[in-house]
């Protein structure tokens, strides 16, 4: 529509652009300094070997990447990372959904429950992990104490490589529960009353109402949670560091933890390999998010 509106005068446009840049500048600077620069630096480091002190010493090209994909350990790390996402995202979102739906039924004290379920949100990862380490303690842990009352156990929650990842996933689900409940509660609250009312008039209630009305209407919230939880799971560090340090026998070594180990732990300062892993992590997060937007979002109904 070339004639619909005449272009603004060049001088005015320049002024507007200048103003826009002035407003953008602080965030552009912060973005460049704390995101773009480290990102570029990561690529740079991932292509270099390190000297004794971790400084990049010589260019090695793709060597760190080819070494990674040739190592069985790294394959295992990727699988562990995938399992951790699966173990935390699916039950985390479904569990929160279930709780929120149950709270929709008009039982007494539901407000109290809502606050209670949102409570984990108030805990930091570090303090929650310390509490869980007490629960899981092999000798004096609460969980094994409870199990022994019913004649089971003891289970090596964090010391048995079969259970350790699940144990960390359980603690992570609990930590995320509060946030998930909050988001879904808000989502339910924003479902227009007339829709539910119409459905009720048509005789829908309970499961039927949930299946046909509430859950589809929660689509955007659920989609948001799945994306956020996946990214969070891929980046989980605190609980792994406090509870297992990636062990036993590497059973809880996720990608992020592996990056940390290579760069900082055990006197290692292999920033080259760590950076290559960080790049892989970035690609994984990118792919997950892209797939979720490509596949899941199509099915989301935005009211």
């Amino acid at each position: 529509m070339p004639t619909a509106s005449s272009p603004p005068e060049p001088r005015r446009r320049l002024g507007e652009h200048g103003l826009a840049w002035a407003f953008l500048l602080p965030s552009v600077v912060v973005f460049a300094l704390f995101i773009l620069y480290p990102l570029g630096r990561t690529f740079y480091l991932s292509a270099h070997a390190n000297d004794l002190f971790g400084a990049p010493s010589r260019f090695v090209g793709m060597k760190h990447y080819t070494d990674l994909f040739a190592s069985a350990d790294f394959g295992r790390t990727l699988v562990t990372t995938g399992l951790f996402v699966l173990f935390t995202v699916v039950p985390g979102v479904l569990g929160a959904l279930l709780l929120v739906l149950l709270m929709e039924s008009r039982i007494r004290g539901v407000r109290l429950l809502r606050s209670a379920f949102a409570l984990p949100f108030a805990f930091s990862v570090a303090s929650a992990s310390v509490v869980f380490s007490v629960f899981y303690n092999p000798a004096s842990g609460v969980l094994n104490g409870l199990l022994s009352h019913v004649g089971l156990g003891p289970v090596g929650w964090l010391t048995d490589s079969q259970y350790a990842l699940v144990s960390i996933a359980i603690s992570t689900i609990w930590m995320n529960l509060g946030y998930n409940v909050l988001v879904l509660s808000a989502g339910i609250g924003s479902i227009p009353g007339e829709i539910t009312e119409a459905a009720r008039l048509d005789g829908a209630s309970g499961l039927r109402l949930a299946r046909s009305i509430t859950v589809p209407m929660l689509g955007p919230s659920l989609f948001f949670l799945v994306v956020i939880s996946t990214v969070n799971a891929l980046q989980s560090f605190g609980q792994i560091h406090i509870l297992t340090k990636g062990g036993p026998d590497g059973a809880t070594r996720t990608l992020v933890y592996s990056v940390y180990e290579k760069a900082f732990a055990y006197g290692s300062s292999d920033f080259g390999t760590a950076s290559a892993q960080a790049v892989v992590l970035m690609v994984v997060v990118l792919c997950c998010t892209a797939v979720q937007f490509g596949v899941l979002e199509r099915k989301v109904h935005y009211a």
Partner: protein, 461 residues
């Protein structure tokens, strides 16, 4: 994406620091003449500041602060030592590496035992021996085995400060209850295994209420057992006659030790509390394990916390004929050379001499439970009083006195020692889980370690 980039940012905070120098500052000179004479300090005007990085927490940090304050008060207007806590030993060494890149190393740094080879290779330090030689200061009072650990190329590289040794801890009450005599503790792994069976107690429902044995999955203990046997942990005489090119813990002896441990766990006679040391300590203090491996440093805490009589015994031998002994653990103090003034180096040396003198070591020993590095400290009344109060400590004194300093008991000096220790821990876990035999697990661990050793050695040049 913002969030993932932020995760990377954590890694790259140090990257910001790297830009300043693309090559490392490792070319410094720290030959024997790196030690300035005492006059350097006399000529200095004003207060010479000594930045001191350490990893001490809790009671140990309190005791250290008190010693630093005492030193500063005695050198008022001349030297001021500024202690800076830098996190765990691992954290500290990571920060130290960054400080080398930024050419801003602390004047004195406390580094754990297994970081010693790296410190020597870093070429950032002035050996303690250089100062001692310059001054004609005798290092003979330093306990021989402890000195042995920190001696490379015939020269003492750093001043030992906080030293510890492993002991076998006993629940004396459990021994008596099982009809055993705590005065006759097990001396070999086989005996320990037999006693562990007798000490394991189950309730009516078949649930184990007390395990005979329990220790943290800590690679240090395997290092100790190999040294007890007189076996080497890495080649080139434990890295003492030259740079170690590979580890030798995957020997038949190593496998025997790891298999022994795993079998005790699998048989239900040993508790598996994982790698976390506090969990293993909690199990012993709660009385749920009867025999336990730990450092001398926890003795006081145990006697105060446990509701039973805590006994100690020498660290076990792998078999009756073993001629070796324990390896000293803990940390030592290193003086930085490049980038520091002669006055600073000199002040650092004065500080180290102060900390390792008999009086201070007695205060340190009795305040923390670390083994006094100065053998004269044990003769002081305050120290004797303490040992009388905690007679269990006598075991540690006798154990060290009875150990001949050899290459085996000097411990393996490997640049990537922390990773080697971790590899052994993984091998123990794999053997316990039954995914591998001990021999296979150790062979694999050694194989996985090889690239790290080679890359380390090539970057040292």
């Amino acid at each position: 994406m913002k969030r993932s980039a932020r995760a990377l940012a954590a890694l790259l905070v140090s990257g910001l620091a790297l830009t300043a120098c693309s090559s490392s500052g490792s070319g410094g000179s720290s030959d024997d003449s790196g030690a300035p004479a005492a006059s350097a300090l006399d000529q200095a005007s004003g207060v010479t500041t000594v930045e001191f990085w350490h990893s001490m927490t809790g009671k140990n940090a309190d005791a250290l602060t008190a010693l630093v304050n005492q030193f500063n008060a005695a050198h008022q207007g001349k030297i001021e030592v500024k202690p800076l806590f830098q996190g765990t030993y691992d954290d500290l060494i990571a920060k130290y590496k960054a400080s080398v890149q930024q050419k801003a190393t602390p004047a004195v740094v406390q580094v754990y035992d297994i970081g010693s080879r790296f410190m020597v290779d870093s070429k950032q330090i002035v050996p303690a021996q250089a100062f001692a030689d310059k001054d004609g200061y005798s290092l003979d009072d330093l306990q021989a085995n402890i000195r042995n650990y920190y001696t490379f190329g015939g020269k003492l590289q750093s001043m030992p400060f906080n030293s510890s040794m492993p002991l076998l801890y006993l629940n004396d009450d459990a021994f008596k209850e099982a009809g055993l005599d705590p005065a006759k503790p097990p001396t070999t792994l086989a005996e320990l295994g037999e006693m562990a069976q007798k000490l394991t107690k189950k309730d009516d429902s078949g649930k184990t209420v007390r395990y005979g044995f329990g220790a943290a999955i800590y690679g240090w203990f395997v290092e100790q057992l190999l040294a007890e046997n007189g076996a080497l942990y890495c080649d080139s005489d434990n890295g003492r006659s030259g740079k170690a090119g590979k580890v030798t813990f995957d020997s038949a002896k190593g496998a025997e030790i790891v298999q022994w441990w795993a079998d005790l766990v699998k048989g239900g006679y040993a508790a598996n509390t994982g790698r976390q040391t506090p969990d293993a300590q909690a199990a012993f203090k709660a009385g749920t394990v009867a025999m336990h491996l730990e450092s001398t440093g926890v003795l006081r805490g145990y006697t105060e916390a446990a509701k039973f009589t805590v006994g100690t015994a020498p660290f076990p031998k792998t078999a009756a004929g073993d001629q070796g002994g324990p390896v000293i653990g803990g940390a030592s103090l290193w003086i930085s050379g490049p980038g520091h003034s002669d006055a600073q180096k000199r002040a650092s040396w004065e500080f180290e001499k102060f900390l390792t003198a008999p009086e201070q070591q007695a205060v340190w020993h009795t305040g923390t439970g670390y083994f006094p590095v100065n053998s004269k400290a044990l003769e002081l009344p305050a120290d004797k009083e303490w040992v009388a109060k905690y007679p269990q400590f006598r075991t540690a004194i006798d154990q060290l006195k009875g150990t001949k300093p050899t290459q085996a008991t000097a411990g393996c000096a490997l640049g990537v020692m922390p990773q080697a220790r971790k590899g052994v821990e993984t091998a123990i876990e794999q053997t316990i889980a039954g995914t591998k035999t001990a021999q296979q697990a150790l062979t694999d661990a050694a194989k996985e370690l090889q690239p790290a050793i080679e890359s380390y050695n090539s970057s040292v040049g």
